[in-house]
């Protein structure tokens, strides 16, 4: 492993632990009544998970400000929202995926009824964590809750999911493919970056710049995810591979082919890196993250 990779890996681990501590303190203990729901929530939330969205939020913030304490619960809220989508997506009526973050999926262990409610609870928690976060100014909290709802809702994550489901087994246009992924994956990545900017109180110009950065790496991340579903291994990814092909999902390799998809990811990452130029050395870790997204095997 190169030195750069080791630096990134160490930083990912550090930030992940900070966010995990914040989430852990916020959530009820595993043995609190009613136990089943708290066990189910923690099962998927504290399985592996790269914590990519929190990492982007925190490291965007760090371009502008140093003390990350005020970012941690907001970052945790985004991770809880992300985890709710994973639990609901994995349910038998949607993707019927048995394996997630290196473990059996929530519904496989706890049953579909409890998994459904664990997802609901995590969605509620995401809002609660922000509403109650006294490290963040009240006006900003209300703005975040508005944005969170907008990006999670019927024209954000849920819209992407609906069109993804309806596109299964169909030949989809490039526009539809982009719509699905801009909403399913891109939204929450952009949101994390926007929250990082807003918490740090950056200029509108920086926020706009970083939002474009977010869109590019969000899309690159999804393209690589689609490629890994074909070329990756379940062991490394922590989830089953080959499932997109089986379900005839709308993916970048399906629409563009593998080679073209790879080129697209490379181009997006190169453009994303250019957008970091104004931040010079402070962007070092985000630059490493870009390289990681391009070349990741998990």
């Amino acid at each position: 492993m190169s030195t750069k990779n080791m630096v990134l890996k160490k930083d990912l681990k550090e930030k992940r632990e900070l966010v995990n501590i914040a989430i852990d303190r916020f959530l009820p203990r595993k043995d609190e009544y009613p136990k089943q729901i708290h066990k189910a929530i923690r099962h998927t939330l504290f399985a592996g998970g790269k914590r990519l969205r929190p990492y982007l939020l925190i490291n965007t913030y760090k371009l502008f400000k140093q003390d990350v304490a005020e970012t941690l619960m907001v970052a945790g809220a985004i991770e809880m929202l992300h985890t709710y989508t994973l639990i609901h997506d994995d349910l038998p009526e949607i993707d019927d995926a048995d394996y997630r973050r290196g473990r059996a999926s929530c519904h496989v262990i706890f049953g579909s009824d409890i998994a459904l409610l664990a997802g609901d609870a995590l969605l509620v928690y995401a809002f609660q964590a922000i509403a109650d976060d006294d490290k963040v100014d009240k006006k900003l909290r209300l703005e975040f809750l508005h944005e969170l709802a907008k990006d999670a809702g019927h024209l954000g994550l849920i819209a992407g999911q609906i069109i993804d489901i309806q596109s299964e087994g169909q030949k989809v246009s490039k526009e539809t493919l982009e719509y699905i992924h801009a909403n399913k994956t891109g939204r929450l990545i952009s949101l994390a970056i926007r929250f990082g900017c807003k918490l740090a109180g950056t200029s509108e110009e920086d926020e706009k710049n970083m939002e474009i950065f977010g869109k590019k790496i969000g899309l690159a991340f999804q393209i690589v995810d689609d490629i890994l579903d074909i070329e990756g291994s379940q062991e490394k990814l922590g989830k089953a591979t080959g499932k997109d092909l089986k379900a005839k999902k709308a993916t970048f390799p399906a629409v563009y082919g593998l080679e073209k998809s790879r080129k697209m990811a490379e181009k997006l990452i190169a453009e994303a890196k250019e957008l970091l130029a104004p931040y010079e050395d402070r962007a070092e870790l985000l630059l490493m993250l870009c390289d990681f997204i391009e070349t990741r095997k998990f």
Copy 2:
């Protein structure tokens, strides 16, 4: 029908229409992309539905203040949250109920995948409607979002639902029965009444008094609901009857017997009505609602 009943019926209809207009304006049109999700949401939201929670919110507010305009979207948010719980509860993995508010359930028409996401979207909408409601002071909005999350979450509605599921087919204690219903039904009814008080800016004493009122009629409502599941007709109720018995659900008649359950509901309603005495004539409609809850056939 008695004059009192006609007055109540007319007022219920008026308030229901006001809330429906507020919700209708807030939601995307049925033909907005992605269509399926918006159709599914409106299917269950605009089926019958008594709008009991909004009605309680508005009429509690009216004990203290007259112009109800500022209550309507908050009332709508509570109804959307309530409807999300109905859609998710009706899913095959939980109650597997095919009939709701006089129509086929959401998943029967749109499939379980879309129904699951329609429920998710309604949960998000409930938060969004309050976060964006510029008729309500920002500080109060944040307080409402906090309360909404607390009552919807793992120690509120979801806790009641989990214990309800786990109690199926079991002999439950009186305490467990009360825990289930205090959370599944009582929470949102209390919340509606609390929001009504807070919007009107009442004294703490009035809020406390009305919260006890809410607990009593919430419980009475649930007991009558359990009785109607045995004695009512699907035609009038708009949902299947006899299902609690079939699923061996924890109900008041199952634990206390029919006669005792009826007596309990009567006593709760009598106590609730006493709590309205300080408001004299202004409480007339709420008094009629109490009688309606006790004697309703639907």
